[in-house]
Symmetry: D3
Subunit: 136 residues, 6 copies
């Protein structure tokens, strides 16, 4: 079993706040991340698949195809968006934290991965923070 990882990037705005809470409660928990006018990040996405290389081509999946799928299903829908407002598959009831985004991206991508298995989604929000999800 070989693991293959493709890296992609997107830039987006978001805000962390709980609209059942007062402004003060949001400030205590989320600090500057609750800014009502948003802030944003350069996100770096790592998609890892696993499988046995096909001897005919030496690939577990053609990385050009994998990149195209990630772009169509994820990057084109997240890049230069507001993650709280603009993305159909991010429910308005879920905070767009890095922890939640890796699970949402996994679920979107999973049905499109054919001929190999999705192994993990890693999403880097800043150079100091990243989250990972392995499907369970």
């Amino acid at each position: 079993m070989i693991y293959l990882t493709r890296r992609e990037t997107f830039n987006a705005a978001h805000r962390l706040y709980n609209n059942h809470w007062s402004e003060e409660e949001n400030e205590v928990t989320f600090g500057k991340c609750a800014n009502k006018n948003w802030h944003g990040h350069n996100y770096v996405l790592f998609v890892t698949v696993k499988g046995i290389p096909d001897p005919e081509i030496g690939f577990i999946v053609n990385v050009k195809d994998l990149s195209r799928i990630i772009k169509e299903v994820i990057v084109d829908k997240l890049d230069h968006t507001n993650l709280n407002l603009d993305v159909d598959f991010i429910p308005k009831t879920i905070h767009p934290t890095t922890e939640n985004l890796v699970k949402i991206i996994w679920e979107q991508l999973l049905p499109h991965i054919k001929g190999c298995q999705l192994h993990s989604i890693k999403l880097q929000e800043t150079e100091n923070i990243y989250a990972e999800y392995f499907g369970e």
Copy 2:
């Protein structure tokens, strides 16, 4: 003359659009950067000063002081903000492009640099784009 550079980071939202133009014209020039709901970046700021090291301390400027000044004057005012809406010293009539931001940051920082000279401001917007300003 020695050049000393301090790196700092901040995360912000912005949008590029010209409000004298139609939505179509904005789309043609700014593409996804014109998204009305904003997008954002992890900005990386490099401030370079120059001077002669003081023999008593070996510094042209104490880098802790330089870092504190950059944080107070620039980073604390830009981090987790919306660059179009939230920052006093970014005029509403000026697009918050990386090219314009380096000049604005230079002008804000210049009066606070004492005992050495401000040499350049470099601002990286993504891993593929950065701008620099040398004061003229």
Copy 3:
């Protein structure tokens, strides 16, 4: 289960030598790392925790709190120190190698991680060397 990683940095001096050995034996095994006047590194620390995001806040742990704990318990006690001499929780009988440091850092940090599980400690000593520990 989501995995969340926080990156922190510290700079420290150390030396690798066995004081039951002759200088020659130390030289053979540790080479320049045995220099009696020390050398040092910019260490990069990655702390990974795992858990289920709390729906109220979208976090498995508030990364600001995680960062504060890592700083108080680890970084403030290792940064700008001599790892052989200055740190209470590094036994004088243990070599401050990257391999030993990840286990020591794990043991220090573990009692302070609440509401989620500590998953791994990764410590990078140079761009070419890092060690990891998963608690067993």
Copy 4:
């Protein structure tokens, strides 16, 4: 159990094509990677071993020895070569894809790792693609 990783680099040329196929078929599957005059990469290799640190020296393996072995067994034989033509241990019937290379490197390196266990081979082909193999 501690995991220790050593990073090494090498630069090589290669080409992806199936010589049982027509030029058109190769173009469809491999695109520019099939260029008959080759292309190349700066490969980055991460070798991870695991074991218990020896209390006498604080190492699971002396990283200088590990580095020397990786250089002798792998890097010196791959660096500044053509991966399709020049390397004894890369069979001519196997495509020199990153997926295949990690398994080949594992098999070459395994007999030389003594006193600890080989855990994984990771090979980065570009900043956007890497493969990993864990021995099964």
Copy 5:
């Protein structure tokens, strides 16, 4: 005057040798770089232009246009090629060293830079080597 830099990447094979020399002379000067079966690199290209931002759009040049030009004129013609054999604008009489490539890239790109000035070409061959050219 603001300086704006765009980063692009390409992967290519090359070989350094002087065909007026014996194999031994080539070996002495170029070492492994003279390998007759080629080797290759992940090149990283930084194109810097300078100008005054247009107040209407905040750009000295629309970075999407700059990126498109660099791709059309340079990257599409160098990516996945053999720099000794495949590129029209690299004379067969000139060694494809990093030093020579920056000047060649400058000359190709210069006629296509409109509305601002080309300031420098920087080309990174490995993480340890890069060359720069400023047009004179």
Copy 6:
């Protein structure tokens, strides 16, 4: 005129303090950098030379020779040392700050650069701090 840069690394301990001052005065100016038991860094050194490529070889200087010279003259003498105690060419009366080190490295290296001109020395102390010297 082409500029060529070679990157090298070394790891060293140092301490910043003025031995004409009290411990309190040192603490105020140098903070944790004054720790009497030292701390250390992974230094990254960039040496830039300039010249006209020799048409015979395509180099302004053979980068292997440049690397060897930097190693012999600088890196071998600084790597795994204490910059305050161990290095002949760092005067005991000069603080081993990054600002001072770039000038000292320039002066050591200059007599050894033949066939091209030394242009600049850049030394990175941490990911957030670096100094540069251009010879005047």
